[in-house]
């Protein structure tokens, strides 16, 4: 009986952890790609995610107002519109806050990133109010799967299934773009040697802008999915989620795209198991302890390349 219970919790927390981890992974992509290409931590990235949650709610309300009632159509339209507008935010932030500091010290863009983060938070607070906002649950219902032979069950809601499918599909598409297309090749070249890429005729400013757009788009996908799942959010959600996603990026090896996805999943699963089996109040402590342990034994993260100083 106890064994069945444990198995049930294990299965349920695996599902929950995968979902949490997939969203961490999606947001971590933005941190890791930006770090990879210009060596800076974009502290405003969490706020981009927060903005996308609000945009999703706005688009949902507007489209519903104009009579779009078909749920699948509504989901696709909201996702596309949110991704597009959030990507514009990402592009715009890079253009006004980071590009002018391209040849400045490494610390300067970090400071403007904190500034952008504060601006976005307060802009949303003023425009949308400080109270938490919600969106109606569009997808209801769930699948119940049996676990073990003692009648245990694990529950996966339709929204959770959607999160897993959309998150992994987005990661697969992004990996394909980065590995197989000429744009992806240009991104990787710019990451490895920006001057050489420019000498070959690659417009590196454009590539850096594209990376910010990709990062924001991935965060927007996470924002839409998480909002659909939880239904409520406020102007503060970017902070803690941003820190978690950043942790995931470091855990996986900052600069590495598969590392961000892997780091997200590990962090999500670790948090979820700790909450399920030990104590849900201390799940963040466990997650960050895990990070400390990994960094002690693998300072460059799980899939990160050790920094080699060129002679």
């Amino acid at each position: 009986m106890v064994a069945t219970m444990a198995l049930e919790i294990f299965a349920q927390q695996t599902v929950n952890g995968l979902i949490l981890g997939a969203t961490y992974g999606l947001i971590a992509i933005g941190y890791t790609m930006v770090y990879g290409i210009i060596g800076m931590i974009n502290f405003a990235h969490g706020e981009i995610y927060m903005v996308s949650a609000y945009l999703a709610a706005i688009f949902l309300a507007v489209l519903h107002f104009f009579g779009l009632t078909s749920v699948p159509l509504l989901l696709v339209a909201v996702l596309l519109a949110t991704v597009f507008v959030t990507a514009l935010y990402g592009w715009f932030v890079e253009k006004i806050a980071y590009r002018p500091l391209r040849h400045s010290t490494r610390l300067a863009p970090l400071i403007t990133a904190i500034g952008v983060s504060l601006i976005l938070q307060n802009y949303v607070r003023i425009a949308q109010g400080a109270r938490s906002q919600g969106i109606p649950s569009l997808l209801q219902g769930s699948f119940v799967l049996p676990v073990g032979d003692q009648g245990g069950v694990v529950q996966i809601t339709h929204v959770q299934l959607l999160i897993i499918i959309v998150a992994f599909l987005s990661m697969a598409v992004l990996t394909f773009i980065m590995q197989q297309t000429s744009m992806g090749r240009a991104c990787r070249a710019t990451e490895q040697d920006r001057i050489m890429a420019a000498l070959l005729g690659i417009d590196t400013n454009r590539i850096i802008a594209i990376v910010f757009v990709i990062g924001a788009a991935m965060a927007a996908i996470a924002g839409v999915l998480v909002s659909l799942n939880y239904g409520s959010f406020d102007f503060h959600i970017g902070f803690i989620t941003g820190i978690k996603a950043f942790t995931a990026a470091v855990l996986g090896g900052i600069g590495s795209l598969p590392g961000a996805m892997l780091g997200g999943l590990i962090l999500g699963l670790a948090e979820s198991f700790f909450a399920g089996f030990v104590n849900s109040d201390y799940k963040d402590v466990f997650a960050f302890s895990l990070l400390v342990l990994v960094l002690i034994f693998r300072p460059s993260g799980l899939l990160g390349q050790p920094q080699i100083t060129k002679v």
């Binding site: 000429s182 070249a189 001057i195 890429a197 420019a198 000498l199 070959l200 690659i202």
Partner: protein, 246 residues
């Protein structure tokens, strides 16, 4: 000899540039005609690599003008210069070590821009059979000589009108150097103009139609390859030979 060739392909007039507060080039004027092979020799730190990088605006020319194929490129952004048909094999090769040989080659196509859609990959793999053999290998695992060949092949992927080579023989075994020089000769024969920067003055001058000698950022001497080889100052400073006249 140069005078009866066609119009100048590359012309620098009174170019000065700075690295921070340090003046790297001072009033440099030089010209490369279509179909030539021109070499620039000089000691370490004379400004040879800076001269090549200045063509691409890193650092920007502070004074003077740089004209390539009738286009003033002095103030163009770095990335729009290669598509005009100017390709650089830079100091230290700067291949992308984490990418495969064929990906490195493909990146050279960025310079094709709107000029051509047809890549000359097959021709280049014939010219560099070792690269064809290793095309799926990470470029960082290649030997020094192979990396140099990859850097040259990558530059040629953009089908440049002028190929700039920065010390292609540096750090390579004499056998490999010989091979690289033979390759340069066949590249020139196929119709690409070459501007070769070298410390290996003897080999470079033997290969070149004309040469320039750069000393502390200034063009000190110029002449045909044979003239410079015979010049007592060049012989003493760069060829390690003491002339009998003293």
């Amino acid at each position: 000899m140069a005078e009866n060739r066609r119009s100048p392909l590359l012309e620098l007039t009174g170019v000065s540039s700075y690295y921070g507060p340090v003046r790297a080039l001072e009033d440099v004027s030089l010209v490369v005609y279509q179909g030539e092979i021109v070499t620039l020799i000089g000691a370490n730190g004379a400004g040879k690599s800076t001269l090549l990088m200045t063509l691409f605006g890193i650092p920007r020319a502070f004074k003077g003008s740089i004209v390539f194929a009738d286009t003033d490129i002095t103030h163009l952004p770095t990335h729009s210069i290669a598509p005009l048909g100017l390709a650089l094999v830079p100091e230290g090769r700067r291949i992308f070590p984490g990418m495969t040989v064929s990906e490195n080659m493909e990146l050279g196509r960025a310079a094709l821009g709107k000029r051509s859609r047809v890549a000359n990959t097959d021709y280049l793999y014939d010219l560099f059979p070792i690269l064809k053999e290793r095309r799926q290998q990470k470029a960082g695992t290649l030997s020094g000589g192979e990396q140099q060949m990859l850097a040259i092949a990558r530059a040629l992927m953009g089908q440049p009108r002028l190929l700039l080579l920065d010390e292609p023989s540096l750090g390579l075994a004499p056998m490999v150097v010989k091979k690289i020089f033979a390759l340069i000769r066949s590249i020139v024969q196929s119709g690409t103009t070459v501007f070769l920067v070298e410390q290996n003055a003897n080999q470079a001058l033997q290969l070149a139609d004309r040469g320039y000698v750069l000393v502390n950022g200034l063009v000190r001497l110029t002449g045909t390859g044979q003239e410079l080889l015979a010049n007592p100052e060049v012989r003493q400073a760069y060829l390690g030979k003491v002339t009998s006249e003293g």
